[in-house]
C-alpha cells in the first residue's frame, strides 16, 4: 500500500512537473528594436519657449522711437517764393474764382493776404494766428519722449518679468541625473536606453548619412553586375584610426569567383580607400566607428 502510494505520488509529481515545463507560456519575444533617444516637449512648453515677451528689458532699452522722422514738421518757407512769382489779383471776385483748388491751403492764405482785405479773410487770419504755423493736413506732431516716458511709467506699475531670455541657463535643471548604469567592472560606453541587448547607442543619423553619401559617390561597380546583382554583393570590414584613416587594408568578407566578382570586389575596396579621411565621423563617438562593416549591394544601382 505504501509502496503503491509512493509510486503514485512520484508519478504525479513527475507528470505535474513535466506539465509545468512543457505547457509553460513562453514569452513572446518580439525582436527588440533599437531605441532612438527622444525628448518630449508638450505643446504648451513649446509655445512658452518660442513666445516673445513684450516687456523684455533689453529690447526696451535698445528701442528707439520709430516715429521720429514721420513727425518732423516741414518748413513752410519753401512754398512762399513760388506763390510770390504769380501776378497780383486786383478784384475780390476774380481772386476767389481764379484760386486753384489743388493749391495748398497755405498758398491760398498768402494770396489772400496780398488781396484786398475782406471780412472772411480777416476772420481766417485771426483763426490762423491762434493755430501753430503748420499745415492742417500734416500728421500730428509725434513726441517719442512722451511715449517712452509713458511706457516706463507702465513698466514701473507692472510686476517684474517672469521670463528673461538672457537667463535661460538659470532655468535649466541642475539636479544630478538619477539614472544608474548597470554595475560591472568597467562602465559600458554605450547608453542603454531600455534595450535588452545593451548596444543601443549609435552614430547620429547625420554621420551615417554623410558616410553613406561619401561611399555612394565613390563606388563605381562594373556595369556587367546588372544582369545578376545578387551574386556580386561585397561585404568589406574596415578598422579606423582616431585620425579618420584606415587602420590596415580593408578586409573583404565575401567570397566569390570569376573576373566579374574580382572587378566588383576591386570597386568596393577602391571606394573604401578613396573615402579617406573619414572626417564626417566625430571624435566623441570613436568607439562606435572604429570598426565598420560595409555591404556593397548593386541590386538597385542599375535600376534593379
Amino acid at each position: 500500500m505504501k509502496r503503491s502510494l509512493a509510486i503514485s505520488g512520484i508519478a504525479h509529481v513527475v507528470v505535474l512537473g513535466w506539465g509545468l515545463v512543457a505547457f509553460a507560456a513562453r514569452p513572446n519575444d518580439a525582436p527588440q528594436a533599437e531605441p532612438l533617444p527622444v525628448e518630449f516637449v508638450s505643446a504648451t512648453e513649446f509655445s512658452q519657449l518660442t513666445a516673445g515677451v513684450k516687456n523684455a528689458p533689453k529690447v526696451l532699452d535698445d528701442a528707439k522711437p520709430l516715429a521720429d522722422k514721420v513727425g518732423d514738421p516741414k518748413p513752410v518757407k519753401q512754398l512762399a517764393p513760388k506763390v510770390a512769382d504769380k501776378p497780383e489779383i486786383t478784384t475780390d471776385s476774380a481772386a476767389h474764382e481764379s484760386k486753384p483748388e489743388s493749391k495748398p491751403e497755405k498758398s491760398e492764405k498768402q494770396k489772400d493776404a496780398k488781396a484786398k482785405p475782406d471780412q472772411i479773410a480777416d476772420a481766417l487770419k485771426k483763426d490762423e494766428a491762434k493755430k501753430p504755423p503748420k499745415p492742417e493736413k500734416k500728421p500730428p506732431e509725434f513726441k517719442p519722449d512722451q511715449i517712452a516716458e509713458q511706457l516706463k511709467r507702465d513698466e514701473a506699475k507692472k510686476p517684474p518679468s517672469k521670463f528673461d531670455a538672457n537667463q535661460v541657463a538659470a532655468l535649466l535643471d541642475h539636479r544630478d541625473p538619477q539614472r544608474q548604469l548597470a554595475t560591472a567592472e568597467t562602465l559600458n560606453g554605450s547608453v542603454n536606453l531600455g534595450a535588452q541587448g545593451g548596444h543601443a547607442a549609435q552614430l547620429s543619423q547625420s554621420e551615417l548619412d554623410a558616410l553613406r553619401a561619401k561611399l555612394i559617390s565613390l563606388w563605381n561597380p562594373p556595369p556587367a553586375v546588372s544582369s545578376n546583382p545578387d551574386q556580386y554583393i561585397v561585404t568589406v570590414h574596415i578598422r579606423l584610426t582616431r585620425d579618420h584613416r584606415l587602420d590596415g587594408q580593408p578586409e573583404v568578407l565575401s567570397n566569390g569567383e570569376g573576373p566579374l566578382f574580382e572587378a566588383t570586389r576591386g570597386s568596393a575596396v577602391r571606394a573604401v580607400l578613396q573615402a579617406q579621411p573619414y572626417d564626417m565621423l566625430s571624435q566623441s563617438t570613436y568607439d562606435l566607428w572604429k570598426d565598420i562593416t560595409l555591404t556593397f549591394n548593386p541590386r538597385e544601382v542599375f535600376g534593379g
Binding site: 553613406r212 573576373p259 576591386g266 577602391r270 570598426d291
Partner: protein, 461 residues
C-alpha cells in the same frame, strides 16, 4: 600568331624591416593572456561595429592613366607610342573608361619593371595605371609587355608579355586593351575583333557595293569583292575565318561562303528561286537561311559538311532573318504570319514558334546576343526606324536609338555593344555607329566611304 606570357609583379620596396621576436616563457604567457583577452573583448567590439548597406553608386567612366609605352630601343619608340595610343582610344570609345590627359601626369615612367610612385598618380585622380614597353627582338619578332596597376591599393592587377611579328603591332594593342578591359570590368573585351560590312561608293542611282572588312576601330580596311555584283547581309562564322553573304550576280540572289584568308568562294546549295538572309550556327557547322517558295519564304538549315538541307518552317508567310541563340538550341526569326512582320522564337529543330514582339509597328532583323541575354532588332513605326533590344521572352523591350533610318544591328563579341548603320536620307549615304546595350555612348565608326550592313566577328584570340 601571338604568344603570351604572364609578367609577375616587380619586387615592392619593403616598407618595414622584418622583426624577429624573441619569445621568453613570460612573453608567451603574456601573449596567451592577450589573446584570451582578445577573445573576450571581441564580441563586444563586434556589437559596437557599425553596419552600413551601400545600395546606390556613382557609375561613371573609370579614370585611367596610360603613359606612352617605352621603346626597348630608340627605333621602337614610334611603335610603342602607337600601341599606347590605340589602347587609349579603345578604352575611351568603350565608354567605361576616361583616359587622363598625359599633360597632367606627374611621374614620367622610365622603367616598366619598377613600381610606380602611386601618390603621384593618386594626386591626378587616376584609379588605374597601364605601363608598357615594346621591343624588337634579335629574331625580328616584336615583344610587347604591359602592367596594369591599381593606383589606390598600390598593387599590380595584371601583367603580360606578347611576342608577334612586327606587322601585328595593332593587334597587340587590341589584345592589351582587352586584357585591361577584362581585369577592370570583369567582362571579356571586344577590341581584338573585326567587322565585315558593305562599302558603298558612287551616286545613289549607281551605287557600287563591295564586301569589306576592317578592325573594329575602323583601321585596316580590306575589300573582299570587286563591286561587279550587289552584295548584302554578310555574316561572320563564329569559329572560322569565313563569311556568308547574299549576292545578286546573274539570275537569282544566292547565298555564298567566302574564306577571308584564302579568298575562296563557294555557293551554298543550288536551289530554285532566291536564297537569302544566311547566318551561321554557333558551332559554325551549319548555315540557316530563307528560301523563296512562290510568294512566301521559309527557313531552312544546311549542314555544311553533308550539304543536307532541313526545313524548319512551313507557313504561307514570309519567314526570314533567322538567328541562333548562343547555345544553338533556339532560333529567333522574323515572320509576317500575324499580318505585320514580328519576331518569333522557336526550337532550333523547328516546330511551333512563339511570338515575342507585341509593340506598335513592324519588327525585323532580329539577332541574338552572344551572351544570350538580349535579342536586338529593327523596329519600324510611324515612319521611323529604331534599333532596340528585348529579352528572349519578349520582356524588357527598350529602344536604343531612333531616326529616319537605322537598321541592321550586330553584337560585339561580349554582347555589350551593338553596331548598326544609319542612313540620314537625301543624297548622303549610310554610315556605321556603335551604341551600348543600355542606349548610351553612341559613336560613329569612321569608314573610307559610305558603309552599311555591319557584322561583328568573334574575338580573334
Amino acid at each position: 600568331m601571338v604568344d603570351r606570357r604572364i609578367l609577375l609583379m616587380p619586387q615592392m620596396p619593403s616598407c618595414r624591416p622584418t622583426k624577429f621576436l624573441h619569445l621568453s616563457r613570460r612573453g608567451v604567457l603574456s601573449l596567451g593572456s592577450a589573446a584570451l583577452a582578445g577573445l573576450i573583448v571581441d564580441p563586444r567590439r563586434a556589437a559596437a561595429a557599425v553596419n552600413l548597406d551601400i545600395t546606390q553608386a556613382n557609375v561613371q567612366p573609370m579614370p585611367i592613366a596610360i603613359p606612352d609605352f617605352l621603346g626597348g630601343t630608340p627605333g621602337d619608340n614610334e611603335t610603342a607610342q602607337g600601341v599606347s595610343q590605340i589602347i587609349t582610344a579603345n578604352l575611351k570609345r568603350s565608354g567605361l573608361f576616361a583616359p587622363i590627359d598625359p599633360a597632367a601626369f606627374l611621374e614620367k615612367i622610365a622603367n616598366v619593371d619598377a613600381v610606380p610612385r602611386f601618390p603621384d598618380w593618386r594626386t591626378i585622380n587616376a584609379q588605374a595605371l597601364a605601363t608598357g614597353r615594346v621591343t624588337r627582338q634579335s629574331d625580328g619578332r616584336l615583344k610587347a609587355e604591359f602592367r596594369l596597376w591599381d593606383v589606390l591599393a598600390g598593387q599590380q592587377l595584371a601583367g603580360q608579355q606578347y611576342f608577334t611579328t612586327p606587322d601585328n603591332w595593332r593587334r597587340i594593342a587590341h589584345i592589351i586593351s582587352d586584357a585591361i578591359y577584362e581585369r577592370l570590368t570583369g567582362e571579356k573585351g571586344y577590341f581584338d575583333s573585326r567587322v565585315v560590312f558593305i562599302d558603298e561608293t558612287g551616286p545613289p542611282e549607281h551605287r557600287i557595293k563591295r564586301l569589306a572588312i576592317m578592325d573594329q576601330d575602323g583601321a585596316n580596311v580590306r575589300y573582299l569583292t570587286r563591286g561587279d555584283e550587289l552584295v548584302l547581309t554578310p555574316r561572320f562564322s563564329p569559329s572560322t575565318q569565313e563569311i556568308t553573304y547574299m549576292a545578286y550576280g546573274q539570275g537569282d540572289p544566292r547565298v555564298y561562303l567566302l574564306n577571308i584568308e584564302t579568298g575562296q568562294r563557294e555557293i551554298v546549295g543550288n536551289f530554285p528561286g532566291m536564297s537569302f538572309a544566311p547566318r551561321f550556327s554557333p558551332d559554325g557547322q551549319r548555315v540557316v537561311m530563307s528560301l523563296q517558295e512562290g510568294s512566301n519564304s521559309n527557313i531552312f538549315v544546311m549542314d555544311l559538311r553533308s550539304k543536307a538541307m532541313t526545313r524548319l518552317t512551313e507557313t504561307p508567310a514570309i519567314d526570314t532573318s533567322p538567328s541562333y541563340s548562343p547555345d544553338g538550341a533556339r532560333l529567333c526569326f522574323e515572320s509576317d504570319r500575324g499580318g505585320h512582320p514580328q519576331i518569333y522564337v522557336m526550337a532550333a529543330s523547328g516546330g511551333s514558334a512563339q511570338r515575342i514582339s507585341f509593340g506598335e509597328g513592324s519588327y525585323s532583323t532580329p539577332v541574338w546576343s552572344p551572351r544570350g541575354d538580349y535579342i536586338a532588332f529593327t523596329r519600324q513605326a510611324e515612319g521611323k526606324f529604331a534599333i532596340g533590344v528585348m529579352k528572349p521572352d519578349g520582356s524588357g523591350e527598350r529602344i536604343l536609338t531612333e531616326g529616319f533610318h537605322n537598321e541592321g544591328p550586330t553584337f560585339a563579341p561580349n554582347g555589350r555593344v551593338i553596331m548598326f548603320f544609319r542612313d540620314p536620307g537625301g543624297t548622303a549615304g549610310p554610315s556605321l555607329f556603335t551604341i551600348d546595350v543600355g542606349g548610351r555612348n553612341e559613336q560613329r565608326i569612321a569608314t573610307p566611304s559610305f558603309a552599311s550592313d555591319p557584322a561583328w566577328s568573334p574575338l580573334l584570340s
